[in-house]
Amino acid sequence: MKGWAALAQVLLVGLLAGVAPAQKPPDKGPEKLPESVAACLACHDDTQLSVKLKDGSTMRLHVDPQEFVRSVHGAQLVCTDCHARYEQNHPSGATFASRRAYAIASYETCKKCHFDTYTRTLESVHYELLKSGLDAAPVCTDCHGAHTIQNPHEKRAMVSRSCATCHGDVYRRYAASVHGKALEEGGNQDVPACADCHTHHQIQPPGSTQFRLGSPQICIRCHGDARLMAKYGISATVAQTYLADFHGVTASLTRGASVAPQQVVVTCIDCHGVHDITSPRLRGAEAMKASVAAACARCHAGASPAFPAAWLSHWEPSLRHAPLVFLVQLFYKIFIPFVVIGLVLQVLLHLYRVSLGR
């Protein structure tokens, strides 16, 4: 999916460049900063430059020209594109209550260009918190930075680490998981980072019922992809075996139904965990069995340790795995066509005889 998005991006950029070559920004090397930027940097390149805010704290006003030039906006924007309200003769004194108040008052400048992304954030749990008065709720610059913004598609680990600023506990568990380790230690681009499951901007509260019911679809995006799974020697049938089973059917039918779910529906996370997912192969069969048994017992009071054998552990029935289920299935797959074809033939023969006349 990422490949397609990248390809679409390349095509789109190519197309825009083709139809509107005049709009292509002039090539600005780090040594050739535009005049207006240079004018600002005449003061702001000073590492000591700062301002005192109303709460008595000091806000540093230094901007590193090299860092800005290396950012994605370095070749596109000038200072006043974002900092539009400043006259030539500023500062006029401490106008903001705190550093945080400044960040919150300023972040909406991003929507001038990124309007669609901005509107998605308005539906997120983070915006709900911000609106309720929680200043710590993240705004654009908290995750993306300000003068140092990098392409978030290339720096997935960086974006995830920005989540860790507030969600440290969760991030530590994630970083120790099979997914987190691969991203953090090996720079693996296949494994999910925070935003791949929680989305980027329209982040929903993960404790909600709808998020739980939809969660298998998140796992299936990768674990139902045969080519991706083959790369890691993982079965891609895990999704369909779950969806074909009792709980998978319940989750699918409850999701998006007008009737609110009357019970907890078991999804992938109940046996595999959420942020602390580890490879079932590494955990071993015994540990997985214990995990499944514990998951069953959470809802099925009195489930014995033998009960999880009712679940085929993502295996398709075969002579080796679940031979009884396999043989019952085989019997009916032969018996039903045999009976039905036989009956249809007799009906046809009967009609044939009638057509001959008695």
Partner: protein
Amino acid sequence: MRGPDAGEYVVRFSFWARFQHASVILLFGVLLLTGMPQKWPYVEASRWVIEHLGGVVAVRWLHRAAGIAFSLLLVAHLAVAIGGALAGRTKPSMLLSVKDFRDAVDFLRYCLGWAEAPPRFGRYDYRQKFEYWGLVFGGVVMALTGFVLFFPITVSRLLPAELIPAAKVMHSYEALLAFLIILVWHLFAVLLSPEVFPLDTSIFTGKIRKDRLRHEHPLEYDELSGRE
């Protein structure tokens, strides 16, 4: 086909038999309506049915309730049939005999034109008997596997837990088989078959025209006439 008996009727089915048939129509219908969407949950029509019946939890309870009623009817049927036969009040006319298998072969020979006349049937012909025993055995399979799925925790304490997914597969396929047999065999025999078209009403009214009885169940007709 019209003979001296045209217009005259004889009683063919008791109230108990008609009540059971009507109950099976109702219960089988409810079980199919609530069961098939669970067998094919990813078909759009299934989602529609489940939505309109109040969600999957409601559908499953409706299915279990109809299943319990069907099981009770099955037990009552077997008790009355076996009890009646043992007490000598009813004849066990549904029991299979060698003649039924011979009749099946003879009827096919007749259909192919290798025999002049169809075999002479008694109170129930071989098709009706086969279907009856299919319903009884199928009903027992559905009830047993249904209760395994209803009480999986209890079952897994007493028996290997692999029986539960096996019961699920069996319940699902046996239901499909029953549905297909009713569709191609029973509905043909009672609706479209040239002898009864457009509908064999005897199981609803309890009566059958004498000329039809003579034609379709000659041995029973002879027996009744002989007794009269």
